[in-house]
Amino acid sequence: MHGEAAKAPGLAADASADITAWQRHGDQDAARRLIEALYPCVMSIIRGRLPRRLAEEDLAQEVFVRFFEKLDQYDGRAPLSHWVSRLAVNVCIDALRAEARRPELRWADLSEAEAEALRATVADSAAEAPDVAASDLTAKLLDTLDAKDRLVVQMLDLDGRSVRDVRELTGWAETAIRIRAFRARRKLRKTLLELEKER
């Protein structure tokens, strides 16, 4: 398989040489170079997309362990960075599912600042709401979503990525992404309005 990968158009020549060196001879330096080259790509997926209690570095390690374990399955049809980002997305989903809290968010769970951000959001006086509180409230709302819904909404609405970008990063169909985003946003709107009613 690595032979095919080495000839693949989606793979930079030096990365291809490093993959071959790792697979054939277990070359540690080649592995280190691969980790170094792919680290920013992995972190761009992991960072900011997980509950704060999960350690970024642990997840990044898990992504790279899976990367080396599954490297012989890489056929080179997609760019290596896309393949790695899909691994990273799957690791994030597994981590979010392992947390599996999805609590029902109540008014009493909000801090004073978050309650103010909620009031400002619903009353459409966004300029008054502090960014930090809005970010904390967003994180709590995202905690109530299913792992895949959460990732889609975060990538589209918080990272400002396009549906096409999300498709490339996750490997999911565009229609599936749009449906997921639609349902997740509807749930988030409903939760926001219910919270405001509870006040």
């Binding site: 900011g48 809005a134 970010s135 946003r185 709107r189």
Partner: protein, 97 residues
């Protein structure tokens, strides 16, 4: 752009805080690659290996149970006096005057 959707408004506000986090350079922590490689060196047990290990651990247990059953007197079986041979009984009845 003005929106009536409270979620989009909130996301718009939160994005301002998320962006610097996402744009920050992702510097690899010291020793990160070494930690990944050391995890790779530790063999991860696959499903088949786990079953094999479980089966291997069950062997002495199975052997001990077998020996125990072999040594134990058969508790369920009641000890009856041997039944007289039916043929012998018949012969005695026929031959008897």
């Amino acid at each position: 752009m003005k929106t009536n959707d409270p979620w989009r408004r909130l996301a718009g506000m939160a994005r301002a805080r998320y962006e610097p986090d996402l744009k920050a350079p992702a510097e690899m922590p010291f020793g990160f690659a070494a930690r990944v490689l050391s995890r790779l060196r530790k063999p991860r047990s696959s499903g088949a290996e786990l079953w094999a290990r479980l089966a291997l651990r069950a062997v002495p247990l199975g052997a001990a149970a077998l020996v125990l059953f072999w040594l134990m007197p058969p508790a369920g079986r009641a000890v009856h006096p041997p039944m007289p041979d039916e043929v012998e009984q018949l012969m005695q009845e026929v031959m008897a005057p």
